[in-house]
Amino acid sequence: MKIADKIQILADAAKYDASCSSSGSSRTSAPDGTGNAAMSGICHSWSADGRCISLLKILMSNACVYDCGYCINRRSNNLARATFTPEEIADLTINFYLRNYIEGLFLSSAVYASPDKTMADMVEVCRLLRQKYRFNGYIHLKVIPGAANDLVQQAGFLADRMSVNIELPSEASLKRLAPQKSKQGILAPMKQIGENFNGFKLERKKTRNAPHFCPAGQTTQMIVGASAESDLQILNLTENLYNKMSLKRVYYSAYIAVNDGPLLPAVSTAPPLVREHRLYQADWLLRFYKFQAHEILSPAFPNLDERLDPKAAWALRNFDLFPIDINRASYEELLRVPGIGITSARRIIKTRRVAAIREQDLKKIGMVFKRARFFITLNGKYLGDAGLSHQHIVSAMCKAEPPSSKKLQYNSRQLRLF
């Protein structure tokens, strides 16, 4: 099979993966080596669906011996199969990298032969790149659940970032839809990576030449909408993963109904893109806005509102905390106002040190005024319409959703018509 055909099959199979981030690692280039990994992440191109391409994201193979219900590559599906050799992937990576097409490699794979054989080949790709080609760019490796500890260990010394996919948000769903994988097979390597990551980081503080272990940390991914978990369960799990496993990021991927099966949503079901979008917004609140999962959702409201971003929904439910005053509120309070982001909150604080903020300054500061105005006062003056009922404010906030969210909602309504 020609290399181009393999790329066609194995890049196509890799695209259902949600992660495209390459940030969080700064590997300085060795004197005789090629490349470094930039801290902030660099996009090299954008694909026709508008996503950033920064890594050569590809599967080693799609010839899977497992049969996970939700997966297009499962053994019982009839489709074109291909498998790269480690040398082929290494050669592609270094040649794309030198031409500045990519920032590095994101390698994942279906399980061919056995988990150990698959993992060993993936480690071999890394070894070729690091040792033969002296490649210092970014490598993100997916860990194959059930692979031997020492393979995971070797991988940790070669890769910048690793991820073990949670796949489904609960053990019960995992048993039902991915019977050949076990919770243990997923959590054990995750724990191993987490402990080594922290261990070697400490070690490096003591002696400068202790080795790096997976310096950009680990991430995971779960599929949303293939099984019945609520958003509250998903956010609680996410919060635990951040706190207990020190994960860098959790990715969600809206389930694309590719297979028929009694345990699965029908193939005609549209992928829950709006839900995925809202989960990412909620995740953002956890990571950057100092929210906790139980503030965003509760057993009484276990699912995110599709019409509203989670911050607006929170603010409307806690309307008694508002309005707050732009010239007096603390940074933390400002962050909780819908329409004020990290940049505009910082600007408000900075500007306030020089001069009090006036009404005509608000838009210049970069806040989304039509969203924020219901929640703020300026030197005591309320900026929303006085006497508007709560119901009206809720609908005004839905109308003031950013165009990108609206477009997503609109498209998903359209899809459902078919």
Partner: protein, 257 residues
């Protein structure tokens, strides 16, 4: 009195000298432009600056000592190639003389915001091109990358690749300004590129056939295959793609040609 307009030679020193002269003059200043992008207005009274780098340096030292963003606004403002930057720098310097360094944090001041935006624009474009530059590898291993940025970001980019590709030999070529920089593995320097070669690249977006090796074509082809295969066809969003990667950048992008 007629509005006063200062003209300079378009260099960084020229710009700073003009700004400094305008601040000192106490006149009402209408604009500060590089000669090549000024179209004469009938009532303007012109002051032509003969660049004196001492004057420029003095102002620059003052801005650097202010800490804050003042020096960055001046440098990035120049790199942005923006027509009106001189006037806004003049306003900024006047504010700084009154308020000191904190003047550069006055986001509510029109000129400060203008300069902040310009500075942001330059940084964003420089960062963007660290990703969007595409090298062609010639037979002898020399790597050549043509590109056409809005701002003068070749310096930023060269520093980036000096780290990343330090054991390779490469050329970055800003086709719009016909300015090229060459890294030979040890030293970074400006060089001149042959006119015929440059014209060919400008016209076709690609280096001449005769220099394009079989191997180079092979990897370009594979990259295109990958670029197409990775897109999710039922989530097509060409507007979004264009928003991140505007059409004017496509000419030298292997995958978009």
């Amino acid at each position: 009195m007629n509005p006063v307009v200062y003209l300079h030679d378009g260099s960084f020193e020229g710009l700073l000298h003009a700004v400094s002269a305008a601040v000192k003059s106490q006149q009402k200043i209408h604009g500060i432009y590089a000669e090549q992008c000024y179209s004469p207005q009938i009532f303007d009274s012109l002051v032509q600056i003969q660049t004196d780098s001492q004057q420029a340096l003095r102002l620059f030292e003052y801005l650097k000592n202010l800490k804050g963003a003042a020096a960055r606004f001046a440098v990035n403002g120049f790199l942005s190639d923006d027509r009106k930057v001189g006037f806004h720098l003049y306003q900024m310097v006047r504010e700084c003389l009154v308020h000191g360094a904190k003047a550069t944090r006055l986001y509510t001041h029109d000129s400060i915001r203008y300069l902040d935006n310009l500075s942001h624009k330059v940084n964003v474009e420089a960062h963007r091109f660290t990703g969007l530059i595409r090298f062609r590898i010639l037979e002898d291993g020399l790597q050549y990358a043509p590109f056409a940025p809005d701002c003068m970001v070749i310096g930023h980019c060269a520093l980036h690749f000096k780290q990343r590709l330090k054991n390779r030999r490469w050329i970055l070529h800003d086709i719009r300004r016909n300015h090229a920089m060459y890294w030979d593995g040890n030293v970074l320097q400006s060089i001149d590129i042959d006119d015929d070669f440059t014209n060919h690249v400008r016209q076709h977006g690609e280096i001449p056939e005769s220099r394009l090796s079989v191997e180079e074509r092979h990897y370009q082809q594979l990259w295109k295959v990958f670029h197409t295969a990775i897109a999710n066809r039922d989530r097509n969003n060409l507007d979004l793609q264009r928003q991140f990667m505007p059409r004017r950048y496509w000419k030298y992008l292997v995958e978009m040609r």
